[in-house]
Amino acid sequence: MNAVWTIARKELSDSLRNRWLVAISLVFATLALGIAWFGAAAAGQVGYASTPATIASLASLGIFLIPLIALLLAYDAIVGEEEGGTLLLLMTYPLSRSQLLLGKFLGHGLTLALATVIGFGVAGAAIALLVEDVAIVSLATAMGRFIGSTILLGLGFIALAYLISVRVSEKPVAAGLALAIWFFFVLIFDLLLLGGLVASEGTLNPELMPWLLMLNPTDIYRLLNIVAFSGSEPLSGVLSLGSDLPVGQAGLWLALVMWCVLPLAAALLLFRNRRI
């Protein structure tokens, strides 16, 4: 445990030193405040629209941003150490491969979690203070759910980045594959799903389709943050499938957690078999 924490501590202090933590927090806070303030711009006015609309907009942006940041943060975790020549040295220390990877996960995870809590937390506090007659309780619940799911989504993509990092032997390749993963889950997946729906012309089992959303952590994330308010607004695109899902909020949370655990477990397994 001590060794895991030593590694995590270095990652955390690295991200403080290279200003990653500050930069991500600032980006999150600016985005959240901007969306809160100009949320009603589409309706022709400036000002706070509503909590559900703000969270929905934040989540739509988060889908693009969070996976990208997580992948960038973590793609070189192992391959970077190897190219830097420190992996061999680290492995001669009383430190197992699993401990090294878990330490990295803890360090990167804490970086992302801190940035999320600080960035969106500040924005949430500002909304609560500045916007008149906003329902504090519903805002806090929605923000809490949003921050929690954002952290989980980030952890999932950090784990996916490790899956690449333990497998390849060159940093540029890892960076390329990380972008490919982002592209697939954020842009391609929904298109494939919709395309499949249309092409199948209804021959696919309609009960199966909603479950396919579970194969994409960003869709789970979106469902979690938008479906919670689905009473008030109609859902569009593939998300409408989500309303047919027989799993409740708890099921979605569990699915998101699985998206952290499974890739991390796979990365640990692959790392153990890597030749150093």
């Binding site: 030593t6 020549g85 040295l89 680290l90 492995m91 001669t92 009383p94 030749r275 150093i276």
Partner: protein, 310 residues
């Protein structure tokens, strides 16, 4: 307890044999030189002892335990060839990080940095370090936690002559305190005075192990006598020819200087005869050096493997 014991160790990957039937051990308080050309299996041997890989066959014990066991690696210091560090951290931060990983006292960090001559540079980022400074930091890293087994791969690369001498003095001191040390180097004349035993690897097999006298006995290479004649060089030449009649010798002449290559066991009888003749004014004896022995054991076959796959 041995520092390590390799018992008929073989290792292969991708169906290629990298080590075959290597039996080697290191005792505490001993410096072992591990020599061989590139791809001879030195790095593989070291990696096996460090527990980075598992042997395909044979028995291996390190510090009385299993290679790679955290309780064992805690007592091993390792300096890799071309050691690299995190460029954005300072020497002190890096050493503190590794000290925490090894469970060594943080008080050791400034001490060790001063010991390797980095006292003035410890708060500079290692990005600015020269090759020699990186090497010193690597050495300080290897010495963390007072290791009982120290493995150094080309430790003197990038070090100036004074730093090199300091390093060897330090290694002697550690050896006298009971540390077992493995030294890999291509600078054979440099390490010759400091090693207690040498192990020579070729193509994954151990060619010879032992201290220098026993390696010389095994190699049975000729000893060279450099002789300066007291009077006429021709007279000395005749005397030598008479003394070495019936023995296998090679005589070379260079001005007033004569050199005789002679088998080790015939050295004393010939010398006695020459001394008795009174024809020599000065005399020096050259034993085969570590480099000569290395070339002898590696042989032509060894050279053919040069540049082979790592």
């Amino acid at each position: 307890m041995n520092c390590f014991e390799l018992d008929n160790i073989s290792h292969s990957y991708d169906r290629e044999t990298v080590l075959k039937d290597v039996t080697l051990q290191l005792n505490p308080g001993e410096i072992l030189g591990l020599f061989g050309h590139n791809g001879a299996g030195k790095t593989t041997t070291i990696k096996l002892i460090l527990g980075l890989m598992k042997p395909t066959a044979g028995r291996l014990s390190v510090l009385g335990g299993q290679a790679g066991d955290p309780k064992v690696s805690q007592h091993i210091g390792y300096l890799p060839e071309n050691v690299m560090f995190y460029p954005q951290l300072t020497g002190r931060e890096i050493l503190a990080h590794f000290a925490r990983l090894k469970g060594a006292s943080p008080a050791q960090v400034p001490e060790l940095l001063a010991q390797v001559g980095l006292a003035d540079a410890m708060d500079a980022r290692t990005r600015t370090y020269s090759k020699g400074m990186r090497q010193r930091l690597g050495l300080a890293q290897a010495l963390l936690g007072k290791p009982r087994l120290l493995m150094l791969d080309e430790p003197t690369v990038g070090l100036d002559p004074v730093a090199t001498a300091d390093l060897y003095r330090l290694l002697r001191q550690l050896r006298d305190e009971g540390t077992g040390i493995v030294l890999c180097s291509h600078v054979l004349p440099g390490v010759e005075p400091y090693i207690d035993r040498a192990a020579i690897l070729t193509a994954g097999a151990l060619q010879a192990v032992g201290d220098l006298p026993s390696l010389r006995r095994q190699a049975n290479m000729p000893v060279t006598l450099d002789l300066t004649s007291a009077g006429d060089v021709g007279d000395l030449e005749n005397t030598i020819n008479a003394a070495t009649r019936g023995r296998e010798t090679v005589l070379r002449r260079d001005g007033r200087q004569l050199s005789v290559d002679i088998a080790p066991h015939e050295k004393m009888p010939v010398l006695q005869e020459l001394l008795a003749s009174g024809a020599i004014a000065d005399l020096s004896i050259h034993q085969p050096s570590l480099e000569d022995l290395y070339v002898h054991f590696i042989g032509a076959g060894g050279l053919a493997h040069r540049g082979g796959a790592q």
